[in-house]
Amino acid sequence: MKIKSKKLRIFLSRKISVLAALVLVLMTFAAFAGPYMTSRSPYEQDISLRFEGISREHWLGTDYIGRDMFTRIIHGGQISMGIALFGVTIGVVIGLLLGFLSGYYSGITDSIISRFIDMLMAIPGLMIATITVAILGSGGINTGIAVGLSTIPSFMRMTRASVISIKETDYVKSCRIIGVSDIRIIMTHIMPGVLPLIAVTFTLNLGTALLIASSLSYLGIGVNPPTPEWGALLSSGRHMMLSWPLGVIAPGIAITLFVLCTSLVGDGLRDAFDPKSIE
């Protein structure tokens, strides 16, 4: 247990990462628990209250048909973060599988998988996601799948590299000699070594995934209005940004904050789990 607390100590010593983690927890709580704490609907219109300013009643004012902006941002957080989480989960499952196949079995399997991943790596995530949506069509689930596909290469590479390094250790070699099955070696000996790095990659990818998902919605090929996904919110707000700047600034800041915090937390975790920093 001593090493664990050491890792925690390293993470806690990076104050900015700790702050970012707190902000993330707060944002996640607001997005997933918030909708159950208010009776307000993000779709409830009141045309007599259009373009209301910030008030105690409407924390972020109201939009062009009188919908409460704060409620929409909170609900949008659930959708944006939900899509990011769904996508990265797809990415981690497929990435882990491919990474283990190619790292553990090497040979021709490795060559084929690695080549394919190299090809995917050449194309930026946003472009992979855009082409995927072009094929599958828009909507929340398809956006999640598109985002997930774009995160596979990073998980696969990370898994493959650590599987290869662990595979060469003496304890794995001796397991093999005494005839322990592959599945058992992978599950009990290699997996624990791979997981911390996967956790780091997972965190870093969450931000990228949300960025790509909201970009797709902004482009009008992801989640469509009136669903208050953050990118879609910003997209519909830009036609009236001069008279109602809050409509673009509020979702923009929400996205930026989430992406910034995940990258800070990810960096903190990497420092904590990097073997070189545990001296």
Partner: protein, 285 residues
């Protein structure tokens, strides 16, 4: 080394065909036509045959090739303008930050570049439009009305890359300053300024060039967001048209041009890696 370079260049060919075949088949499958006239792979071979003769099919009444060629200069201008801006500004800020390591100015540059690389491009576009077009009325919101119109799109596209390049340059600079050759130069009494700007600079150029090339791919992908925000009729807009109008020929045309561009950029990145560290070529299967 030469063998590595050659095999790496040739690698583009299978990658290109795999990418186009995957997109072709899945797009054909998802379009949900009841029956195809011929097996899909035959149609793919026929299609690629036509493409190599310069016939990409039609989009509405225009040949797709003409549409692509018409859009290409806008996207190229955006991407190269953005990367040029990001390189100059990024390298400069990175060197300043490294020279003043852990001082206030270093912390400010690093904080700003972290935030700059977290802001979504489309949000940055909106902020710039609000400030410079709508409030100050300095620059137009549309990209193509005049040459000034391209300023905001290029700055928007380049800014997030500035952060990335600045951070890489800072690290490269600090690594170089710790090299024995630099320490020796310092011991010989060569002025600190000469060391920073002439000795160190040469050694840090290759990692920085690699970072710039890596970023160029991301930047090219980002043009789709900037083109929509500033109404620029580039390749990204065409891709969006292809998706909204469900146009098969246009989609394939965009995938071929953009896919090829990404593969070439990636090739340059890989060759730069070999320049940095020739051992990369040896470990290559």
């Amino acid at each position: 080394m030469l063998k590595y370079i050659l095999s790496r260049v040739l690698q583009i060919i299978p990658s290109f065909f795999i990418l186009t075949a995957v997109v072709f088949h899945s797009a054909l499958l998802m379009r949900g036509g009841p029956t195809l006239p011929r097996p899909a792979y035959i149609m793919y071979i026929e299609y690629m045959g036509r493409v190599f003769r310069g016939d990409f099919g039609n989009f509405r009444t225009q040949p797709v090739l003409d549409v692509l060629l018409g859009a290409f200069p806008y996207t190229a201008l955006l991407a190269f303008g953005g990367i040029a801006l990001a390189s100059v500004l990024g390298v400069f800020l990175g060197i300043v930050a490294a020279a003043k390591q852990n001082k206030l100015i270093d912390n400010i540059i690093m904080a700003v570049s972290l935030i700059a690389s977290s802001i979504p491009l489309f949000f940055l576009a909106v902020i710039f439009m609000l400030i410079f077009s709508l409030h100050l009325r300095w620059l137009p919101t549309r990209g193509t009305d005049s040459w000034q119109g391209m300023i905001l799109p290029i700055v928007t596209l380049g800014l997030p890359a500035v952060g990335f390049i600045a951070r890489t340059s800072r690290t490269a600079m600090l690594d170089v300053l710790n090299m024995d050759a630099i320490k020796a130069a310092r011991a010989r009494g060569i002025p600190e300024k000469t060391i920073t700007y002439s000795h160190a600079f040469k050694n840090m150029m290759i990692p920085i060039m690699t970072a710039i090339a890596v970023r160029l791919g991301e930047l090219l992908a980002g043009t789709v967001l900037v083109e929509l925000a500033f109404s620029i009729p580039g390749l990204g807009r065409l891709l969006l048209h292809a998706i909204t109008f469900r146009d098969f020929n246009l989609l394939m045309g965009c995938v071929i041009v953009l896919g090829l561009a990404f593969m070439i950029i990636n090739l340059i990145v890989d060759l730069l890696y070999v320049l940095v560290d020739p051992r990369t070529a040896k470990s290559y299967r």
